[in-house]
């Protein structure tokens, strides 16, 4: 499997021979300014099926922003993100791409219980039957009936991870997923990521700490250097 990461001016630099059918996620010539600072300029990357992109960099380097650009939440000044060769947002809206996004905010309603929150997302992904199983797997079985506002920060992070697991997504976009997690939680996250990649999924993870993806191939992208 060919893996390449280019900052090159040629946006197709990563499309080596034979990689054409395996590359699923690609960004070409992404440029974004925030105020007077340039977060990234002419940034390109390409990611084959079953691999992960690890976005590294110090605080404020633009890891979250890049993740939001990939998710289509923030528009870059120039450049484009594609999924399987077509525009990312179009693929998302046509249902050909299933995306799990986990940002800074957990995306859970504080007034609803953990189970109610997760059931909502499981229904949207068409697998409501898996809620209990995933709750147990993420170690939230005992607190499933608690309102999310009563959960600890680590438990909220686990619940957000449970939502990702329930999404049946091809692509995971995770922003600092290890934050607030204990050792067991971190191990679980790494296992889940490894399993996702082994199943032919793709992941983009923004992290300032190291993360073990198991045997899955990882591309590293350093921002702010």
């Amino acid at each position: 499997m060919t893996r390449r990461l280019g900052w090159a001016a040629d946006p197709l630099a990563g499309w080596g021979t034979g990689a054409l059918e395996t590359v699923v996620l690609a960004g070409a010539g992404l440029t974004l300014w925030r105020g007077t600072t340039c977060l990234f300029e002419a940034l390109s990357f390409s990611l084959p099926v079953g691999s992960a992109l690890l976005i590294e960099g110090p605080n404020g380097a633009g890891k979250t922003t890049l993740l939001r650009v990939i998710a289509g939440l923030t528009r870059p000044e120039s450049g484009s993100v594609t999924w399987q060769g077509s525009d990312f947002r179009q693929q998302l809206q046509s249902g050909r791409l299933r995306l799990a996004f986990s940002g800074h905010s957990p995306g859970l309603k504080p007034e609803l219980t953990t189970r109610e929150n997760l059931r909502f997302f499981a229904q949207l992904a068409g697998q409501p039957a898996r809620v209990s199983e995933v709750l147990d797997a993420t170690g939230l079985g005992a607190s499933a009936g608690l309102d999310v506002r009563l959960l600890s920060a680590g438990q909220k992070r686990r619940a957000a991870l449970a939502r990702v697991l329930l999404s049946a997504a091809d692509l995971w976009l995770l922003d600092e997923p290890q934050t607030n997690l204990d050792t067991a939680g971190r191990r679980f996250l790494e296992q889940a990521l490894g399993e996702h990649l082994a199943n032919g999924g793709t992941a983009v993870v923004a992290a300032h700490q190291s993360l073990d993806f198991g045997s899955g191939p990882v591309t590293r992208l350093a921002l702010g250097s």
Partner: protein, 243 residues
């Protein structure tokens, strides 16, 4: 911790087919927002309490003569309903933006406008419907005759959803701004004026013993227009707010 959670990527072959039909999607979002709204009932009851307060203050401040009360009733009730709607609008998308729910909705393979329509309907059921239900009871204190009461209720039933839908555009535009309450009012209030005029006019006509169907039909037409257009505009605005 045992990990045996197949991450579900095996379902990729069926990925072109969304998991939920549009009606099921509408229902799932409506049910969730209603549940959140009921858990947060202190917020939800604000606009209903405000409506009661405004409507009951007028007879105290003005003369309690029956004919004068009857004359001002349509205007007072409609203005109170409009202000109650404006009061509730800030809550429409604010918490969704803060807790990350909007990011989740934006990254789903479902039409955003449709989801916002479900959210706006839930918002109207929680904040607007109590106003519609209370209006005829409060209107009795204004000595309104039965025919005018039913026209008033019908006009509110047709008009307040339109107000919520128009308000959803302003709420979507200002969701990301801090302290945008007044700005929101200035954006949406002018759009709401036709609804206010038609609603009060219909009740007025019924009170005078004339045929109120003209303004009622127009209110219905505005509602249809708002249902079909407002969610699309709000969806565009919410993308900007979430950026």
């Amino acid at each position: 911790m045992a990990l045996n959670v197949a991450t579900g990527t095996s379902s990729r072959d069926a990925a072109a087919e969304p998991a939920l039909g549009l009606l099921a999607l509408f229902w799932v979002i409506l049910a969730r927002d209603l549940r959140v709204g009921l858990r947060r009932w202190t917020d939800a009851s604000n606009s209903a309490l405000f409506f009661i307060l405004v409507v009951t203050l007028f007879p105290l401040a003005l003369s309690p003569r029956a004919e004068q009360l009857r004359m001002i009733a349509p205007g007072v009730l409609w203005i109170a309903a409009l202000l109650a709607t404006l009061l509730s609008l800030q809550l429409l998308f604010r918490s969704d933006l803060e807790d990350g729910t909007l990011e989740q909705l934006l990254t789903l393979p479902y039409p955003l406008g449709w989801m916002l329509l479900a959210k706006t309907l839930a918002h109207w059921i929680i904040t607007g419907m109590p106003v519609v239900l209370m209006a005829p009871i409060l209107a009795i204190t204004y000595q309104l005759p039965a025919t005018a009461l039913s026209v008033l209720t019908l006009s509110l039933l047709l008009g307040t959803p339109t107000l919520s839908l128009l308000g959803s555009i302003g709420a979507a535009l200002t969701a990301g701004l801090r302290g945008a309450g007044v700005l929101l009012v200035f954006i949406v209030a002018p759009l709401m004026l036709p609804v206010l005029i038609l609603g009060a006019r219909a009740t007025d006509l019924a009170l005078a013993g004339e045929d109120p169907t003209g303004p009622l039909y127009l209110l219905g037409a505005l509602l249809v227009l708002a249902v079909s257009l407002a969610p699309v505009v709000a969806a565009g605005a919410i993308r900007v707010s979430a950026d």
